[in-house]
Amino acid sequence: MIMSAETRHAAAARVTCEDLVVFLNACFCCTGQREFYSDGRAQTVSIEFLHDYIRGNYRRLYARTLAAGVNHFNRARIVTELLASSRDAGPVERRDEGRLVVAALRSLPAPRAYRALLAVRARGVNNRRLRAIVRDYLSSRPDLQFDAVKYRGKLRDLILHTHLRLPGELGGFLFKGWKQRRYQTPLLETFRQAHFSDEAMYELPFTVAEGMAARRNIDRAVFLRKIAPRLTTLERLRLQNTAAREGVAELAIDLARAGLTRVAIYLLSLPPAERRERRAELQAALDDAARRCLREAPLALGRVAAVLDRSYSTTGSPDKPRRSLAVALGVDALLRAASAEYMPFWTPTADDPLLAGPRGQTDLAGPLLDALETRPDLLVVVSDGFDNDPTGGAGEVCRVFKARLDPAGRTTIVHVNPVFEAPELGPRRLGAAVPTLGLRDAEDLPTALAFARFAAGDLSLAELEDYLARRVDVFLRRAAVAPLEEGA
């Protein structure tokens, strides 16, 4: 076929745009972990391919996706990929990438950031650029002594790789054997003492003290009680079940500070009897979390209906237990708080979604029709996309509704999918008629909805670049990094 230069250019732009949308969508939900319908291996292979493909073909845009709100797993992966393959990049490109990488590292939780940098080491890459970025990252850490104790192995390996000079006593602490000397720095001295005294041990971060306690055969309940003041919010949330089992009351959590999806996951982990007992409290916690989340990322919607999947497949996998259901609960709470009028439709129907567990088949077509009858402005479907009662019913309903009953597009239908489907290289779709958005945390729903127009395929590459540029500006400003030179 013969194409004019213009047509070729337009076609290339369209392909770029589509590729990027697929990649971003995958990066919103995939974490390389096992899912209900596919194992961890398939997930890893699939997402690794996407990263390789996008980095190889669209490196400039690949770097900018760091700012698009992709999840931590993929942000860390992009950082690693960018740092491990910079041979052919020009100086301006490198400087811009560097700024994005620095901002990304600052936005990541410390263990993930360290792991991302160590992954570059595993690739056998060591250059001036990496050393500068590590130096910058370490200088941005609020308390490097704390990192040296809590992430001792990681920090040590990183320094071993980059040969950076550490301030104060840290060099000796990490490399000359902490047993050799006494320390002036209080935390390091506590770490030394903790090997000989129980009191000092309880001054250390939980993860460090836990190993020591196990080595000394300290009773789990006693340990938990005494370490309680040192626990971080997430550790507290994670240890709730252990604390209940061991009869430790000191570990009470403050649900008013946890994120929306975390609250949902926590309440789904409770036995039904306890959920029923604490129903009002849990509902309030969920609503509060939704309101807090909206304060950060405002969202004002009109008449909204939601079809929420709580079928058996929302059990997830041992790696992500009940995550899909938690996301559905989170989206439910968020939409209720954000919309003027809200109508939820659970499938299978649930009298009280807070008390219901993952059970039953996935009938999306029925609830979709019910929801469409209420004539909403926005219809959000939260599901893993495997509808089986009947198969493909939801896709047909959406297609025919759009084509025949709502050609003017009065109702916007959006499919939100918390599950990455490895063979499809993205969240599983309901059909061509509905844009499908990957979503890992319910908190990110505003971002996802903003992205919906791209997923629908309505917008061009220029608009996508524009969108990314705006996100990059905000991203860099938030991390206190200088703006890009090339212009985003």
């Binding site: 319908y37 039953g360 996935t362 009947p390 198969t391 047909e396 025919v400």
Partner: protein
């Protein structure tokens, strides 16, 4: 095994077919119960460490004359009430003595395929019950001492008669399909298709029983054909709904169109399972209690069709309360077919060959190839042509 009735298939009285769920080559079709009743429940009895090695089928408990040997992971315990009141499903914790499990010279032998353990509780061995019926088909051997038959055949019949089957967990993809299947609320059974060939039909009395026993599908056994199909085929197309958009004018019309497509697929699925649901079956009643009959069945054994055997519990009104089927492989059907033809003609080789439209040597080759060479005297087999005829 003597049959006491022939009927047109199992039918689906009291049951509804729901849309299929396909995973790879396995397609599982839920069967829903219209009215759930509480007066019949099924539980498993795990043998674990004290698993029986054999089942005494005939003779005393301490000295069985005919024994059935197989891998037997569990038994089912059926509990019922005659007055329609609710009963609980428990896979009774019975002692060995109550179970009729004895140690005979180091071999653990369970007494009988079906046994009433206590009032209102019946223990039986799922699928083994029907397979034993199949193996005991004309088990006595020739009833006229024709000179071609060996002394062993004349004195011991077909013993030892054996067949092979594959454990469900060895059927490629079945384990994943069972794990990922989403159980419906009123579901009591399932049709199992492998590469769209009906592999089994399972029905339990109560939705809770099904939920508890769903995963035990991988411990059932399946025929050779099913095992091969699972390896040969990667996937089957999903039964996707399709709506013709030109015919839709409003939401109600769309709803009706989806419902129609759903019903069409349901009818289609029933057609796919015709081998069990519609084709003629021959029945034998094994146990009768209150309004329930435990029966085993076998299809007509035509070598050119799919043949199933199984067991079922039927309520007096004809409602299916329990059922499990097994698809016979072609070789198994051929063997049973030959035995039936021989038995029909009083084991006279010449008349049987004539009925089958072949010469006697050809019949002998077929018998030998089917694994029945041990029934015939050595000199009879000696001058036969090698290979198939």
């Amino acid at each position: 095994m003597k049959f006491d009735e022939t009927s047109q298939g199992l039918g689906l009285r009291g049951l509804q077919i729901a849309p299929a769920q396909a995973f790879g080559a396995v397609r599982l079709v839920p069967l829903l119960k219209e009215h759930v009743r509480e007066d019949l429940r099924l539980g498993t009895l795990e043998f674990k460490g004290r698993r029986p090695h054999a089942v005494g089928v005939r003779g005393h408990a301490d000295a069985p004359t005919v024994a059935y040997c197989s891998y037997i992971p569990h038994a089912y315990v059926l509990r019922w009430s005659s007055d329609g009141t609710a009963v609980a499903a428990r896979g009774a914790a019975l002692t060995d003595k109550q179970l009729g499990l004895r140690d005979l010279g180091g071999v653990r032998v369970l007494h009988r395929m079906v046994r009433q353990e206590e009032p209102g509780a019946l223990r039986f061995l799922p699928l083994h019950l029907s397979l034993e019926g199949f193996l005991s088909l004309h088990f006595g051997g020739p009833d006229v001492a024709w000179s071609e038959y060996s002394r062993q055949a004349l004195s011991h019949g077909l013993s030892p008669r054996r067949e092979r089957a594959a454990l469900g967990s060895h059927v490629h993809g079945l384990e994943d399909a069972v794990r990922m299947f989403e159980i419906h609320e009123r579901q009591v059974g399932a049709l199992v298709f492998v590469a769209d060939a009906l592999a089994a039909m399972v029905v339990f009395p109560h939705p809770d029983d099904y939920r508890a026993l769903h995963r035990s599908l991988v411990r059932d056994f399946f025929g050779e054909l099913v095992y091969q199909y699972a390896i040969l085929y990667d996937d089957v197309p999903a039964h996707r709904v399709a709506v013709r958009e030109a015919e839709i004018a409003d939401l109600a019309g769309l709803r009706a169109a989806v419902a129609r497509a759903r019903a069409d697929w349901t009818a289609f699925t029933a057609g796919m399972a015709a081998g069990v649901l519609r084709e003629p079956l021959r029945w034998q009643t094994v146990h009768r209690t209150g309004p329930f009959r435990l029966r085993r069945f076998m299809s007509a054994l035509r070598p050119d069709e799919d043949n199933h055997l199984g067991e079922a519990i039927l309520r007096d009104g004809g409602e299916l309360e329990y059922c499990k089927t097994f698809r016979l492989s072609a070789a198994q059907v051929r063997r049973a077919f030959l035995l039936e033809k021989l038995a029909q003609h009083h084991w006279d080789l010449a008349r049987t060959a004539e009925a089958l439209g072949v010469e006697v040597p050809a019949l002998l080759v077929r018998l030998r190839n089917a694994g029945f060479g041990y029934l015939l005297k050595e000199h009879v087999l000696k001058n036969l042509p090698p290979g198939a005829v």
